[in-house]
Amino acid sequence: MTSPHLPVLMVVLPLMSAPFCAVMRRGLPAWSLALVVTWTSFALALAVLTQVLDHGTIIYSIGDWAAPWGIEYRIDRIGAFMAVIVSGIGALSLAYSRRSIAHEIGVRRRPLFYTMFLLSLAGLLGISVTGDAFNLFVFLEISSLSSYVLISLASDRRALTAAYRYLIMGTIGATFYIIGVGLMYMMTGTLNLADLAARVPEVAGTRTILVALGFLTVGISLKLALFPLHTWLPNAYAFAPSVVTVFLASTATKVAIYVLLRILFTVFGKADVIHAQEIGDVLMVLALLAMFVASLVAIFQDNVKRLLAFSSLAQVGYMILGVSMATATGISAGIIHLFNHAIMKGALFMAVGCVFMRTGSVRVEAFAGLGRAMPVTMAAFVVGGLSLIGVPATVGFISKWTLIQAALETGAWPLAVLILLSSLLAIVYVWKVVEVAYFQPLPSYRGDVREAPLSMVLPMWFLAGCSIYFGIDAATTLGIARDAAAALLGNGP
């Protein structure tokens, strides 16, 4: 597949199939269509990634209007990598979704669920590949609006307030972003990211650009749930339908981090703001706070989804910590953790979804005895948990290794110590669940708990398997992350 139109098809395909799903009356045909489409998108994303790895950055002018007059797709390594992560997780969670959705969402709403899912996917993919600041906003809103709906489709009424809070915070974030873009546009006259990058250094010293940077950073930080702008996230993840949690946890915050990378390094890279304006230091402090505060809070959660949500906040901290170092190794640590965390959290939330399906609860107590009753699911949970801790032979180890290496390279050994200490907290909260699963007997009233259906177990174990495989053989993924980091710093291939 070497058609030049792959990048745009990858995004437009799910976007165009969403209306078809919307007019369907039943879940099954909608699911089938969505399944075909997401997997095709995944295949296209992989093809694009290969193309980018082989031939370098792809530039696709939409409507054949050359940038900066028209909108272009500009896909470099990191963008293609993001697209693969997003579409891959999308494809897997869609395969997983059928039984889970059949269990959690009423029959009339199922086609609408798949519509929203496809839109969310299209939005996130669009963000990953676009080269235009305003187009990015539009697709950000597509993905955000559909996520709000996806979250509120859950049966728990707290999902509604969670979605509402997410909507308010998300819209504030988007508005901040748009203020930032406006200020940038005002000073440079362009919206194209590459063009901005070329024109920013001229005006980098002005107060307007400085404020623009501030607004962009705060706005995106809201979306990526950086401490202390994270308050929307725990409940949104905890009460959303299982599949939605899987998908959003593995993709939405990741894409936001990607946008932050784009702004800080692609647009402001030549102006070197991360060093000049202490943004790096601020991000680093917030990242460290996130790592410790969120991990500590996670320890005291009784709802496993909430527990994992707080763990996600801590993991976002790791990613931002890597980014804030602004060295090649630091950024590649952030990027590789994007990928790794998507895999492991995907597996973990899928396991929790299986548990919810069989026991009707995601409280820690509900896990009692599941080590025996649902051995396959719990084994996947353990693999994911070990990965969160960072045990070798899991992807978490690779991330941690790279991050600590980055810290030591800059001579910041206290930082390395803090990273290690915070991962001890992960042992505590992961083991809290594992112990209950394996050491407490199955309550008698749950005597009929069975293993989850195959269609859910397979995607879950695919991710669990990935988190082992890429933990042993990380040369490829880390290689991409390194090249991407080098490219972001302006000295890549």
């Binding site: 165009m16 696709y60 209007w65 007059w69 609408l112 669920f113 929203m116 200020l183 005002m186």
Partner: protein, 326 residues
């Protein structure tokens, strides 16, 4: 406008708040006209002052109009807002002055739109050229956003309280019938006005190339005709005229028309959303492309507005007792 802004903060009567916010939008629209943004003004008036206000009123009818006094102090919020505001003002200090023709935005990118769009794209309305062609992909995104919102609203409140709805709808109609039979003049007037509004919508739809207007505004106007019909003759009657499947189909159709045009460009040998390749010469191609996508926009927007409004309206309680019971 500032006065309204401050008033909004202080006021506890939500009904007044919503009305003020509508007025605020109208004022903004007025400002847009002053600042030469006629298309935007058109849209803001129809959407911000019109649709959004109606939706808010509908919501208020469902949730109650009096805000309860808040107990906690808002020092933190004040601090955040002050800091943000101060940052923005600080940022303005290095900006080009308002109306300054030498500002960078007028000299990069835009000159090509002003100078070349006439022979590259065609329509004298540059906003349309940029919207539909140069940055057509954004507009596709925009249509998708409105599609998302409409489907989202169906997913969220499309089917709640279905148990009561039969009885509910019947009573709603009774009430409308009572009210309306006493106002025959209004009914007749409406029947006369609605076709006119629709004609106007069609005019706006197809006139977008030359003056302010286009698919989006036309869609909103078209929808408001149907909404008016619903308000005067009862939601149920309107729903019979425009059943749900039709709006839902419209929603999907518009998006597909737009994206389909893009794909057509791709099939004909251009890039996605390249209209130039659609006909024998590029100006005709652009013309047809813009025509189709604007139509798509119009259909989806009209369908979305109608869907959103009717979905909200279906929930409206018949009388205060009903509201208390919920």
């Amino acid at each position: 406008m500032t006065v309204i802004g401050i008033g909004l903060i202080r006021m506890r009567n939500l009904f007044a708040v919503v009305m003020l916010s509508g007025i605020y939008s109208l004022l903004a629209a007025f400002l847009y006209v002053i600042m030469d943004a006629v298309d935007v003004a058109f849209t803001e008036a129809a959407v911000g002052a019109g649709i959004a206000t109606v939706l808010m009123l509908a919501t208020l009818a469902l949730t109650g109009t009096q805000e309860k006094p808040s107990r906690h102090t808002n020092l933190l919020s004040i601090a955040i807002v002050t800091v943000t505001g101060a940052a923005l003002v600080y940022g303005t200090l290095d900006m080009p002055e308002y109306g300054d023709p030498d500002a960078p935005i007028h000299h990069h990118v835009v000159p090509r739109y002003m100078n070349d769009s006439a022979h590259e794209v065609g329509p004298p309305n540059v906003v349309t050229s940029v919207l539909a062609s140069y940055r057509g992909f954004d507009t596709l995104g925009e249509v998708t956003v409105i599609f998302t919102a409409a489907v989202g609203v169906i997913a969220l409140i499309g089917r709640i309280r279905r148990r009561r709805s039969l009885n509910h709808d019947a009573r709603l109609n009774e009430r409308w019938a009572d009210t309306m039979s006493s106002k025959p003049v209004l009914r007749v007037l409406t029947k006369l006005i609605i076709p006119l509004i629709m004609l106007f919508a069609l005019y706006v739809q197809f006139h977008g190339d030359y003056g302010p207007g286009g698919g989006f505004q036309a869609g909103v106007i078209f929808a408001s005709a149907l909404i008016l019909y619903g308000l005067i003759f009862g939601i149920d009657t309107a729903r019979r005229a425009v059943p749900e499947w039709m709006t839902r189909l419209g929603l999907a159709l518009g998006v597909l028309m737009y994206a389909g045009t893009g794909v057509a460009g791709l099939v004909m040998g251009g890039n996605f959303l390249n209209y130039s390749v659609l006909a024998h010469d590029h100006l005709h191609g652009q013309h047809w492309g813009i025509f189709t996508i604007e139509l798509g926009v119009g259909i989806t927007v009209a369908a979305a507005m109608v869907t959103i409004f009717f979905t909200f309206a279906r929930l409206l309680p018949v009388d205060p007792n009903d509201e208390k019971r919920s």
